[in-house]
Amino acid sequence: MRRTAILICLLLLPAVATRLFTAIYPFFNTVWLSFHDWNPAFPPQQFVGLKNFQALTRDIAVTSSISFTVLFVTVSTLLEIVLGMAIALMLNRAFFGRGAVRAVNLIPWAIPMVVAAIGFRWMYDTQYGVINDLLHRTIGVKVPWLVDFWGARAAVIATNVWKSTPFVGLVLLAALQGVPQDLYEAGRVDGTNRVSAFFYITLPLIMPQIVTIGLFMVVWQLAAFDLVFAMTGGGPGFATQLLAYRIYQVAFTALNFGYASAISMVLFIVVGIASIIGLLLFRKVEVSL
């Protein structure tokens, strides 16, 4: 028994050691740095207590980033789930060429985010962009998407949704295929129509997957960076500045590691809260089944 325990410990050691030095140590180092004033170009490193946290409450760049991050993640996740569900329902039906359509559906997801962001920046261009061209031809208007506060936000969110929805659709399609067909048959015998079947059979049965993918999307998107990096640079002003992008700016262009660590702590707390809400939701959904 004791030999088995030792063997288990030894086998776990590499994984534990790797995790310790790739996740645990960096995390605690970030916590420690957040209480310090540290910029390698302006030594020495000094303990400043809560000064970095006080500073970020007055930093309009950070407060604006938090508000847009929350908006970006909430709206994107909701749209991705609704549209992903629509795609999944469509692809779950039998029709000619379904395999090809399923493959095409995944194209946006397979395109690197930076490539998509640069492509969309040109597409949103007021003079030459295909989006404004279509708007102009159909309803006679041109929108200065990327220089308007709400236009830029809408453009960034729409691009993110376009890119991520196929993946959500794929996961929900897999979930739909796990729903037993005999439930629908029983429902039909009882006179259930398609809408009722969706709300009373499909949705409850795939709710755990919806909550799981929703939670994943929230956490991933809280750390989104590349989209605004390549598409808007966080502008105009701070309109599309995400918290992760702000951390990048402070840490890697200004080398202000202490302050960047403090902002990272805020992001960690936001991710933590979102995760707890998601897990509670998941537990509730599981219980309701």
Binding site: L7, N39, F149
Partner: protein, 446 residues
């Protein structure tokens, strides 16, 4: 029948024991190496003076080294003849690597390595807005002992102050300039000649002449101002003309901000979409015959002339910049060569940097690529009557060059101007709020 190889069977228990020990050792080894504290400060030993070129004997086969020189990809071809000369003389080899295209990217790419006490490159082309950060952090090698005085003397007097501010720290020089970047006024001489008018000489004329040409999609002028960094570039340009101290957000800076706002929103001679454009888009607009005149960096000279399907003489000529309240000014900055403190082949790297920047090789680089054209005496002696060099001299004679605005925390300070300008020019805040916010955020930098 062939002999069967002898197979030594290992019991499952022995295998598990051996595998566990090996994996455990690896884990512990990795852990210990991760625990090792990387040097947070560069070693303080003095620079190793490299032997100057003429005295260095070619390396023997065993002593041959391969150095890495990082510089933007478009400059590689121009570098090759000079590097070949050095390779022939020393017996070492130089590999070219594509370097980052902006100061922000320089810091992002190299700071983590330098902070860990290593360098992926031996010699690098470094930007103004990353260089000072690198020297302050102690990550660069002082060059005083290796760059001969005749190289420094080759730069005009007007360069000296800039070299002291942007290429030096604590009395030591860390970077040798190889690019003189100044915002030039490119204009459609063919259009102006047709209307028998001259390019604008004042801000008032910018507006008046701009209106004459503006008929969307054609605009009087254009400037790419997307974040990050590009709004700062234009505000610094206008503040040079208004005489403003950009990082103090003073009254003259306010004039510059107001002028940019008026060009877009009041006079409408610059499209609002300029605020979301990068330089590629700006150049595309110009080369689609949609712009009468604009400020642009020197690279547009080659970009315009390289567009064979569009370019004809007169389509991208250079005029002096318009004069604001402080005169016809344009700020200048650029790139220079440096050697990281942690360069793997530091002695050879120091010899290489002295070689490629000397008075004999600087003109060879300049003839190979306009990015290397500078008002150095050696370069002007060779190509003072050619292309961009003519305009460079003209700008210098007209006293156009204005120093790049300096702040010790240059990257953060520039980003504040960028943010505030973007907020103001997209009508999210008023001019008064922009100035107030700018002042407060600069003050918070300490």
């Amino acid at each position: 029948m062939k002999d069967q190889p002898t197979v030594t069977r290992v019991s499952r228990r022995k295998f598990l024991k051996a595998a566990t020990l090996a994996a455990g050792s690896l884990g512990i080894g990795a852990g210990l190496s991760a625990c090792a504290t990387p040097p947070t400060r560069a070693p303080q030993q003095p620079a190793q003076p490299a032997e100057l070129s003429p005295t260095q004997a070619p390396a023997t086969d065993a002593g041959r080294k391969t150095l890495v020189l990082a510089i933007q990809g478009f400059a590689h071809d121009a570098m090759k003849p000079v590097l070949a000369k050095w390779e022939e003389r020393t017996g070492h080899k130089v590999t070219l690597e594509s370097g980052p295209v902006s100061g922000n990217e320089m810091i992002t790419k190299y700071a983590p390595a330098f902070q860990s006490g290593v360098s992926p490159v031996d010699v690098m082309s470094d930007a103004d807005d990353s260089g000072p950060t690198f020297y302050r952090a102690g990550w660069m090698e002082p060059l005083d002992a290796v760059i001969p005085q005749e190289t420094w003397d080759d730069f005009p007097e007007s360069f000296k102050q800039q070299i002291e501010v942007w290429h030096s720290f604590n009395g030591k020089r860390y970077r040798v300039p190889h690019e003189f970047a100044i915002g030039y006024t490119f204009y459609r001489k063919d259009w102006f000649d047709e209307r028998k008018i001259e390019p604008p000489k004042t801000w008032e004329e910018v507006v008046a002449i701009g209106k004459e040409f503006t008929n969307p999609p054609v605009f009087g002028t254009m400037e790419a101002m997307i974040k990050p960094a590009l709004a700062f570039v234009y505000m610094a340009y206008l503040a040079a003309q208004s005489g403003g101290n950009l990082f103090e957000f003073d009254d003259a800076t306010a004039q510059a901000f107001q002028f940019a706002y008026d060009l877009i929103h009041t006079h409408k001679i610059m499209p609002e979409t300029a605020l979301s454009m990068d330089y590629t888009q700006q150049n595309e607009e110009y080369m689609k015959d949609h712009v009468a005149f604009m400020r642009q960096w020197p690279f547009f000279w080659d970009v315009a002339r390289g567009n064979k399907n569009w370019y004809q003489e007169g389509k991208a000529e250079i005029a002096l910049p318009p004069a604001g309240p402080a005169g016809a000014k344009s700020w200048w900055g650029g790139w220079g060569f440096s050697v990281p403190k942690f360069a793997p082949n530091k002695t050879e790297a120091l010899d290489l940097i002295a070689f490629i920047t000397n008075n004999e090789n600087a003109p060879i680089l300049a003839k190979g690529q306009s990015w290397f054209v500078m008002p150095r005496k050696s370069i002007m002696a060779v190509m003072g009557n050619e292309g961009l060099a003519v305009h460079m001299q003209r700008y210098a004679e007209a006293n156009v060059p204005s120093p790049r605005p300096f702040h010790p925390k240059v990257a953060e300070a520039q980003s504040i101007v960028d943010d505030v300008a973007s907020l103001y020019l997209t009508k999210q805040i008023s001019l008064a709020e922009a100035l107030q916010q700018g002042k407060e955020r600069i003050a918070a930098l300490g």
